[in-house]
């Protein structure tokens, strides 16, 4: 469960955009039924506005209205208490902190204007009307509330024409100055998309990262396989001090790739061990800069050296475990028939080791696909880069979780593909020709 859920989550992050669509609603409340979903950037015609409860106070595009709770004498002479928009009240009195205390109802100018002002039960225009106030009536202001403006919008561009009109909160819209047109600037609803994968593939580091990762696999793994076999045969020979040699050979298993990166940085850096040694032997005159942007070849050499140093031991252990399963009698029989050491290795040990080698190769390849601290320690992570490093960079530096996830899934895909490749190509004889 602990592994499957993050995997599912990673997949969702890769192909699902949380903020792609803005639902527009039948009525200007969050509970209103969704009429349509509009993608980011949709051009809009704005037909009406309404004040409503705040949806997203932190947004840049938020437009608010102030409402006052007022008390005063209504048209019918009774005492009224209710909410009215700030636009209808002229504030006459404020306390020291600027909080309004009292005011008068603004008159409406122009022919045929309604002289009365409606008072609402709650601070929004859709709530019930509790009464009406005369113009210029004095009121005391007991409370004020900030409300978000909602707009009645209709898609204006050709692509979405014909879509129904609906209400959307201002925090997800950007509107023109006269509030007649606008476009969708934020979204709350998700959609499936390939744009993160697209962005990963288009990333200028994607190609180099993939190439370097595969190149490193091809360079490192054959060297490691041969070396691990040699180490395993040495351990299996049970020479004196065997336990000591095993300890030394196994040391790198407990080392992180970061530690290996630092070790080989100390060797290959400008004033490092390699230059000191070459200089001391008189091979070069003065230090040679191995790890610079101009010498990516040497950086690769350093990475290969570090990886071979670090991760061969684990292959050795797997192969030794396989060697221990080969009965001594088999080897003695081969010796009896006159096979020399290399013939025995070639014709007896290697074929019997196939399952172990297969496991070692699969494990090694999968782990090699995840290496990144070595690369960063030796190259800074820009000049030479690998897929895992790009995933980290997208996450940590660029704060782009979705693309980082796409990289991670791509690595998983490569891992599975390489495992399948080894399982098919290093098949043991018995499977190919059942007898």
């Amino acid at each position: 469960m602990f592994f499957l859920y993050p995997m599912y989550e990673g997949f969702v992050l890769t192909v699902y955009d949380d903020d792609a669509l803005l639902p527009i609603r039948e009525s200007p409340t969050l509970s209103g039924a969704t009429v349509a979903k509009l993608p980011l950037g949709t051009e809009l015609e704005i037909n009406d506005r309404r004040s409503q409860e705040m949806v997203n106070a932190g947004s840049d595009d938020l437009i608010t209205d102030q409402w006052f709770q007022v008390e005063g004498t209504g048209v019918d002479g009774s005492l009224l208490r209710g909410w009215v928009t700030e636009a209808r009240i002229r504030v006459r009195e404020e306390d020291a902190s600027g909080q309004p205390l009292a005011g008068t109802v603004r008159p409406r100018l122009g022919e045929g204007a309604d002289p009365l002002t409606k008072i609402h039960a709650e601070p929004n225009e859709t709530s019930s009307v509790v009464g009406q106030l005369e113009q210029r009536a004095t009121v005391t202001i007991t409370q004020s509330a900030e409300l978000e403006v909602w707009f009645l919008v209709q898609p204006a561009d050709d692509m979405n024409s014909g879509a129904a009109a609906g209400w959307a909160p201002s925090s997800y819209l950007r509107v023109s100055e006269d509030a007649s047109r606008g476009w969708v600037s934020g979204a709350t609803s998700g959609e499936f998309t390939t744009k993160f994968i697209q962005r990963m593939v288009d990333d200028r580091f994607f190609g180099p990262a993939l190439r370097t990762t595969l190149l490193l696999l091809v360079l490192i793994i054959p060297v490691q396989l041969v070396l691990a076999l040699a180490m395993a045969l040495v351990i299996h020979a049970r020479i004196r001090l065997n336990s000591g040699f095993l300890y030394v050979f196994a040391l790198p298993i407990g080392m992180s790739d970061l530690a290996a990166g630092i070790l080989f940085f100390s060797i290959f850096t400008g004033n490092g061990l390699l230059n000191s040694a070459l200089d001391g032997l008189g091979i070069i005159d003065g230090p040679f800069a191995f790890l610079t942007a101009e010498t990516t070849g040497w950086i690769l050499v350093a990475i290969v050296a570090a990886e071979v140093w670090r991760a061969t031991s684990i292959m050795m252990v797997i192969i030794v475990a396989g060697l221990q399963a080969i009965p001594d009698e088999t080897l003695e029989a081969a010796e009896l028939f006159g096979a020399n050491y290399f013939q025995r290795v070639r014709h007896i040990i290697l074929p019997l080791l196939k399952p172990s080698i297969q496991v070692a190769l699969i494990l090694r390849t999968i782990l090699a696909l995840q290496v990144f601290a070595v690369v960063v320690a030796l190259s800074g992570g820009d000049v030479v880069t690998v897929l895992a490093n790009e995933s980290f960079r997208q996450y940590a530096d660029l704060r782009n979780t979705n693309v980082a996830s796409a990289y991670a899934l791509f690595i998983l895909l490569l891992s599975v593909a390489s495992a399948v490749f080894y399982l098919r190509s290093v098949r043991s004889e018995a499977e190919v020709r059942p007898t």
Binding site: L258, S266, L336, Q370
Partner: protein
């Protein structure tokens, strides 16, 4: 031609005949030469593994000027000093990073041990439905990319409000260590014959008593090894630690994120701290390495 190369003369030749003595000598010489070759290969590989480690150790225990200097040399030939170490330990956040690393690794050790004992015992002793599937999935998880886990988990932790917490990082490390721990612990349990437990019960011990007094003393070293392994794994882990923490950096995450703008002395002293647990613990773990991986191929 073939006849002369045959190291086994006809059976009829007497044992003290010159041919037999000759051939025995030849075989012994050949074996000796092979032995010598093995030693040479062993020593070359050992030197190749040890030289970088010892070089960084030398750099970690010398003066900061020597670290900056050129050409470089190994410890007895350069001044011994705790300058580099002190410089590193006094740098911002290092002591806290060390402590964080220790806490996370310790939690990982405890959690993975507590979880792997019942799981390992179950795999070793009982045949239950889905046992093979369980073993297989444990193995599959062992090879699971940390990268694939870390990023969704970071998002998840962020949403759940447990981001940048040592506990959530320890949980992640436990998940990474568990497969191997379970394999080691189960192979250790499997090496203790069930008959011993039965014998205990024959003499009147309850199943738990015979487990406690017979099995536990025998498996304790193996379980300690698997715990140490979990500790080292957590101490070493870079990717998840860098992704899942921000202020509560562990040592590897701290060293990693400051790689590009830290002086060499900082890196080398950091490298020393990164390596020291594995160098100490590998000594105790090495016997169990094959338990860890021997099962994989079966």
């Amino acid at each position: 031609m073939k006849q002369t190369q045959d190291p086994h003369p006809p059976a009829l030749a007497p044992l003290d005949s010159p041919e037999v003595v000759q051939s025995h000598k030849q075989m012994r010489r050949k074996a000796k030469r092979g032995r010598l070759l093995t030693y040479i290969v062993a020593v070359v590989i050992a030197v190749w593994i040890l030289v970088p480690v010892f070089f960084v150790f030398s750099m970690a225990f010398t003066t900061v000027e020597t670290v900056r200097g050129y050409p470089k040399n190994f410890l007895p030939f350069i001044p011994f000093s705790t300058d580099t170490m002190r410089f590193f330990l006094e740098s911002d956040g290092v002591l806290r990073g060390l402590w964080n690393s220790f806490v996370v690794a310790a939690i990982t050790l405890i959690l993975s041990t507590l979880l792997s004992i019942p799981a390992g015992y179950g795999i070793a002793r009982y045949i239950f439905r889905g046992r093979d599937l369980f073993r297989l999935s444990v193995l599959a998880v062992r090879a699971f990319p940390i990268v694939v886990l870390s990023i969704p988990l970071a998002v998840l932790f962020l949403r759940a409000g447990v981001f940048d917490s040592l506990w959530s990082l320890a949980l992640m490390h436990t998940a990474l260590a568990l497969p191997t721990s379970i394999l080691v612990v189960s192979s250790v349990f499997a090496s203790v014959p069930y008959e011993l437990e039965e014998a205990g019960m024959v003499f009147g011990a309850t199943p738990f008593q015979s487990f406690r007094h017979i099995v536990v003393p025998l498996v304790l070293p193996g379980i300690a090894a698997s715990g140490l392994f979990a500790f080292v794994l957590s101490w070493n882990e870079v990717f998840a630690a860098s992704v899942l923490t921000l202020d509560n950096r562990t040592l590897p995450a701290l060293v990693f994120t400051s790689l590009s703008n830290s002086p060499d002395a900082y890196k080398f002293a950091g490298g020393f701290f990164l390596m020291i647990p594995s160098i100490v613990f590998m000594f105790f773990i090495r016997r169990y390495l094959f338990n860890m991986w021997g099962q994989v191929t079966k």
